[in-house]
Amino acid sequence: MHRHHNGTFLDDRLARRAVFGRIARTTLGVTLLDGLSGPLAEAAAATNKGGVNLVILTMRGAMSHLDTFDPKPGREEQGETKPIQTKTPGVVFGEHLPRLAALSDRLAVIRSMTTETGDHQQGQYVMRTAYPVLGSIRHPSLGSWALHVQGKASRELPGYVLVGNGNEHPGAGFLDPAVTPVPVADPTLGLENTVRPQYLSEKNFNRRLALADKLDADFKRAFAGPQLEAYNQMYKDAVRLLGSVDLEAFDIAKESEKTRDRYGSSTFGQGCLLARRLVEAGVRCVEVEYGKWDMHREIFEELPETAGTLDQGMATLLADLEDRGLLSSTLVVLATEFGRTPRINENAGRDHHPAVFSCALAGAGVQGGMVYGASDERGFRPAADAVSVPDFLSTVAAACGLPHDKEFMAPNGRPFKIGGGGKPIRAVLA
């Protein structure tokens, strides 16, 4: 604990308590836990209407940079994807992104991203946390940090929703379980099982909960610790959520058919629509996964649909956020774990390529109409202004107003920074 000098913790009293709570739990054992559950619950329920919202679009499987945001016209490596002119003079995208090309004045594209690993799981973990996978600790994802620092914007709704598969996600890491993303498997179904069976009255439901609590008291006492506390917390959150009038934010059927069509019928497109609804309703952070990018074979057959789906979903999201005046308070991040090889392999696909790849930002805190960094002529390595994943995530943190240069203490007593101690790209920040 000797590292607790000035500035190592946030000023935010509640966030501070949450961190202390976690540390107390692991260092002082279980006795403090009961005493802490009060303030922790309070922290989880605290709200903060201001602050920047975060929408992260995660392209799982590694998005090919040459075929999307960093084409190399005229090169053999380019393969079948043709370049198209964007709204920004002199900047071309791949042909499957016409809508985003028309919105390039809103985008900050980074073409000199570089990372260390060519393994999907590890790459995704780094892209979500800014830290490499370690056996001894789980790092918080950026969305969890945002929630931890800024608090929730709605009392009943979750602060962080993940449209996709929760299994691979580092989630809250060593932060309080209250900042864990709530996974929504299918955006068209929204949050399932929110309606009580008809025969079960609210009164009876509450009786059941109270009874479960009492019957479980001995076990909870005997095994008090982070694992059980996470479940205790989820039970509280679930009950709070069920009582929310804002639950219909999860129901995209409330949108007109026309609106739904504009996003595209894909799960990703509908996920983008759900993201917009949730941000409007006060969910601080929404992440939408899209996982069809691992194109080792027949890449030029796969690209039209996959890239087209991204184009339609993301472009519609940006346009809608702007129409509603939300783009100035919402940062949209397009991220992927690494790039794909410039060389086209014998199966007409591209393999993993961590040396250079592209990501993009739009909205709150960043400049539009800009390209930062460049890959070399083949799209093989960064040619200028290489951006590491920690640099990128520190930029995101800075754009959201998160304290990326402050040290936080993890339960193992080691210091961590939001964004992994990277350097924010000043040129990209508005």
Binding site: T117, G118, D119, Q121, Q122, G135, S136, I137, R138, N165, G166, N167, E168, G171, F174, T180, V182, P183, V184, A185, L191, E192, N193, T194, V195, R196, P197, Y199, N204, F205, R207, R208, A212, L215, D216, D218, F219, K220, A222, F223, G225, P226, Q227, Y231, M234, Y235, D237, A238, E298, R343, E346, N347, A348, H352, H353, P354, F380, A410, P411, N412
Partner: protein
């Protein structure tokens, strides 16, 4: 509105005779008037699951009772080492488990589910001195054991039914299950998978190589990670500063298996229609002709025909092939695009296979007895499965700066694995027979820097599959109404002799195939047999894989079967909502469910005990009993009170954590 109501009223009617007074028999209450008859018709459990299960749903290799003294001695040796570690580090062991908690744990760990009320009571009543050993042996030879360990391996091996559209993996999934059923020695099993040739329904072990079809480098990475607990993946692209392995070493190893082919004549120049046109076997040429003819027909299932043809020519074979360093190889010891000579990562290729082809050499090296890392990896993996924490964590990242928490113990377990000639079930039998396994669970914070010393097993949440199969235990007398198709069944449906087949034959074959294994028909058939409100009430091992993200099992963390050991046990809100309002937790309140019958077949005064034994595998304590009685007495109507008790117990941490 439901059968559950009807049942609850009846049950509680009886419960209340004993617990309260005759006054409670006004059992009707508000709900009684609401047409239970109609509701029964709507929400009945499917007949197939309420019947008695088949006598032998799976025919399992029996456990040899004769080796029991040897198992006990081996367990004592493990205990001595654990106890020494505890003493050295001044850690107190936890207290031994009572019979009830022991039974719950071994049922969950070996059979993948909680015991039924009757199973538990029979065990508790027995006064045989060896009743724990007997329970362990019976569970290890039960169909449940095969099902549970199938789930365990499905998570590791990324078992899916269609990893790609043309890969019909049912035979491989059946092969994995069968290898567990026959307790095939692990080294034999792995060697089979690494060297198999042929088509999936001829030699289903080829599935392991086909899981990474067309990706020779990730294949080597995954294989080494799974069987040798070593991560070399980073070296695929470059020398990693903090890693032991160089890119060159990676390529040298990959050169051994680079000649693995899965398509006749190798891949084509990149277009689907040209894919099977590459020169090759007669069958491949025939497939090409059929495919070209099919293209002209412009029929609506053209793509399905193409996949069906491709499935029929997908064939694993091996012919040594040179592997070139990548064109961007950046180190001084070799030039890009030069061929690497094959070499293993450590040790040597066993003498007997040095003249065999590269793939044989690779497999023989991986499973060799003197490649201790092979035995060590599986010993650590099984130890972790049973004790909750591995001696090396994570178990696929053995390296110098990640030492074992107790090296002596790990080496002892490795020796045991070798002594047992890779008999995995016997190894499991030894571990669950130890005193340390039969102690009370302890908390282990995975983020704590201090190594876990095993004062008892670590507390853990049930896996998604354990939870599903446990809830099913409360619902379905017969959880085996549907089982995975066998290799022979698939062969009968898939196989077409392309050399003589006409397009019409292909169409007929495809129709047969889609009728059996097409997503829609397969689902409909399952729902007809064992469907209940959109869920198939069969063991997790027999369900489709991967399940859709919104399925109960996925909500509770079942893997998407894309990543190695992708299963998780982390808390999320949708899990709680599923427990609150989802169909599966309500299925057990239906007439004809297991717990329904258990409660109604006992004397009323025993009802609360029966519920506790069935759900939590223990009798209620005095406080529990008082609370339960109070709940039933004070509820709006007594029926509701009893339903509330069952629901409440399902929603305790005690239910989903294994203590």
């Amino acid at each position: 509105m439901s059968a559950s109501r009807l049942w609850l009223e009846r049950t509680v009617g009886v419960v209340c005779v004993a617990v309260v007074s005759a006054a409670a028999l006004g059992a009707g209450g508000k709900s009684a008037t609401k047409g239970p008859r109609r509701a029964v018709a709507q929400m009945r459990l499917p007949e197939a699951v309420t019947q008695d299960p088949p006598a032998k749903p799976i025919d399992v290799q029996p456990v040899d009772r004769g080796t029991r003294p040897a198992v006990a001695a081996a367990a004592r040796a493990v205990d001595a080492l654990v106890d020494k570690g505890l003493e050295t580090h001044g850690v107190e062991p936890t207290r031994p488990l009572e019979d009830d908690a022991f039974a719950r744990r071994v049922y969950l760990e070996l059979a993948g589910r909680i015991p039924t009320h009757d199973e538990l009571v029979a065990f508790l009543r027995s006064d045989a001195a060896d009743k724990r050993a007997e329970l362990i042996d019976r569970l290890l030879e039960s169909p449940d054991y095969v099902s549970h360990f199938y789930n365990f391996w499905a998570d590791i091996l990324r078992l899916q039914e269609r990893p790609d559209k043309h890969l019909v993996f049912e035979p491989y999934l059946d092969y994995v299950k069968d290898s567990i059923r026959t307790n095939k020695p692990y080294d034999t099993w792995v060697r089979e998978m690494l060297t198999a040739d042929g088509r999936l329904w001829e030699n289903p072990a080829v599935g392991f190589q086909l899981r990474d079809e067309g990706m020779p480098l990730p294949y080597v990475d995954n294989t080494v990670r799974v069987f040798l607990g070593t991560q070399i993946g980073c070296a695929q692209c470059h020398d990693h500063p903090f890693d032991h392995w160089t890119q060159r070493e990676f390529y040298e190893l990959a050169a051994l298996t680079a000649g693995t082919q899965t398509r006749p004549g190798g891949p084509g120049p990149g277009r689907k229609e040209r894919r099977v046109m590459a020169s090759g076997s007669e069958a491949a040429r025939a497939a090409r002709d059929l495919q070209l003819a099919n293209r002209d027909r412009n029929q609506k299932n053209k793509a399905a025909v193409a996949q069906y043809l491709r499935a029929n020519v997908t064939n694993v074979a091996f012919a040594d092939k040179k592997l070139l360093l990548p064109h961007d190889y950046q180190y001084d010891d070799a030039k890009p695009l030069t061929a690497v000579s094959p070499k293993v990562l450590w040790g040597e290729v066993p003498e007997a296979v040095r003249r065999a082809d590269g793939r044989q050499q690779f497999a023989a090296w991986v499973v060799a007895r003197d490649n201790r890392q092979f035995a060590r990896t599986i010993a650590n993996r099984l130890w972790k499965k049973l004790m909750g924490v591995g001696l090396v964590e994570p178990g696929d990242d053995f390296k110098e700066d990640n030492p074992a928490s107790d090296p002596m113990l790990l080496e002892h377990l490795t020796d045991e694995m070798l002594r047992l000639d890779f008999d995995l079930r016997e190894f499991v039998r030894i571990v669950v027979s130890t005193d340390v396994y039969q102690r009370r669970a302890v908390l282990h914070d995975t983020m704590s820097a201090a190594p876990f010393r095993f004062p008892g097993p670590a507390l853990k949440r049930m896996t998604a599959e354990q939870l599903w199969d446990s809830i099913l235990t409360l619902v379905a007398r017969n959880p085996w109404s549907i089982q995975r198709p066998t290799t022979a069944e698939v062969a009968g449906i898939m196989n077409v002799d392309l050399r003589t087949a006409s397009l019409a034959d292909v169409d007929r074959g495809l129709e047969r195939f889609l009728g059996h294994y097409g997503k829609g028909p397969a689902k409909r058939r399952m729902m007809q047999v064992c469907g209940y409100r959109g869920l198939e009430l069969v063991r997790a091992s027999e369900l489709p894989t991967p399940l859709p993200l919104g399925h109960f099992l996925r909500q509770f963390g079942q893997s998407d079967r894309e990543t190695i050991e992708g299963g998780r046990t982390v808390a999320t809100i949708p899990q709680i909502l599923a427990m609150f309002n989802g169909p599966i937790t309500h299925a057990m309140l239906e007439q004809g469910s297991v717990i329904y019958d258990e409660v109604t077949s006992h004397a009323p005064r025993e009802a609360i005990d029966v519920v506790y034994l069935a759900v939590l595998s223990r009798r209620p304590g005095a406080d529990d009993r008082a609370l339960a009685i109070q709940e039933i007495m004070s509820a709006d109507d007594k029926a509701t009170g009893c339903g509330n008790l069952i629901w409440a117990l399902l929603n305790t941490r005690e239910f989903i954590f294994i203590q």
